[in-house]
């Protein structure tokens, strides 16, 4: 197996992008997180071909990187030229939960991404990180009037997760959304749901 892994690592530098893509994917499938494999895949995150970079990122995610490695090497991919990589980088960051808090400022920038589903995912990821990124709530507010409903829904959900139950500023925002007749019913319902969850968490604390 070691020889096969070494061959795959070697193939990450092949001239043919499809060979590099397959090598990166297979290394993830094998699942050995040796320094050679991890370092080579991290190097492949800078490959010139987008789907090779994505394949390396997917494999690194499968190998469950340490938080510091994700922050150092995955956060920069939030600015990748390809939208699927920006979104997948955000999903990878979400896996860290509260330990992803150093990535919050970069995620906040992605809330203004030109592609709606990247914006929606960035908002959702902030919610997954939780109350430690509470200070990002003001960056989520513009998302509540995004042209795409999915982005608004993700922002509402995120606000509900980053605010603690006695957070009056976030409560006021969610109440306003739930009563705003300019919002689609789906967004208003999400705001009501977020408020209920915040209320439940307050009762659980008592």
């Amino acid at each position: 197996m070691e020889r096969a892994i070494a061959r795959l690592v070697y193939n990450l530098r092949d001239d043919d992008c499809h060979i590099r893509f397959a090598a990166a994917r297979t290394l993830g499938d094998i699942g050995r997180d040796t320094p050679l494999v991890t370092d080579s895949l991290i190097h492949t995150l800078k490959d010139k071909t987008w789907f090779v970079r994505l394949s390396a990122l997917q494999s690194l995610r499968d190998l469950k990187l340490k938080p510091a490695v994700v922050i150092e090497h995955v956060v920069p991919l939030l600015k990748d030229e390809h939208e699927d990589i920006r979104e997948y980088a955000a999903l990878t960051i979400a896996d860290l939960g509260p330990m992803a808090s150093p990535a919050a400022p970069s995620l906040a920038e992605v809330l203004f991404d030109p592609v709606w589903y990247v914006r929606a995912t960035a908002a959702w990821v902030l919610g997954q990180i939780g109350p430690v990124v509470r200070e990002q709530y003001s960056n989520l507010v513009p998302c509540l009037s995004d042209n795409e409903m999915e982005v608004r829904i993700s922002a509402v959900r995120a606000l509900g997760k980053i605010g603690c139950a006695c957070d009056q500023e976030i409560l006021n925002i969610l109440v306003a959304v739930s009563r705003d007749n300019g919002q689609p019913p789906e967004v208003k319902e999400e705001a009501e749901e977020a408020l209920k969850e915040m209320q439940n968490s307050l009762e659980n604390m008592k």
């Binding site: 994917r25 993830g28 789907f51 994505l54 394949s55 997917q58 995610r61 499968d62 939208e83 699927d84 979104e87 997948y88 999903l91 592609v115 589903y117 929606a120 995912t121 959702w124 999915e150 829904i153 993700s154 959900r157 789906e186």
Partner: protein, 124 residues
């Protein structure tokens, strides 16, 4: 009248193979080589089902699928995702987007019998 299937895949070999497979089984097909091309052909062709690759130049299958599901005219067309990268399921399996998941998700290399069975079930 035969049912219509839009095949969106950047690999010419795969497109031709699927075209032959579907034609032999009584389906009418239109071929598109990426998501942008697929969306251009969608309105003219109005397919009964779509077979969609993911990793393609220009607009990928992810972008195509999400645009499709937000289109009132096309959102109910059943979709079979066909991809060589299993972890692409993450783009569709997450609950943070309210869009419905694809009807079927198959990995390449695929079994012809299995794919045909799924096509016949979704587009009878």
């Amino acid at each position: 009248m035969s049912k219509k299937v839009l095949i969106v895949d950047d690999e010419e070999d795969t497109r031709s193979y699927l075209e032959a497979l579907l034609s032999d089984n009584g389906y009418e097909t239109v071929l598109a080589e990426d998501g942008e091309d697929g969306f251009r052909k969608l309105s003219d062709f109005m397919p009964d089902g779509i077979i969609l690759d993911i990793i393609m130049p220009n607009q990928t299958g992810v972008g195509f699928y999400r645009k499709l599901k937000k289109s009132e005219a096309h959102k109910n067309i059943p979709v079979i995702i066909l991809t060589g990268v299993s972890s692409y399921k993450d783009f569709f399996g997450r609950s943070h987007l309210t869009l419905p998941k694809p009807q079927e998700f198959m990995e390449k290399p695929f079994s012809t019998e299995e794919l045909l069975g799924k096509i016949k079930a979704l587009i009878p």
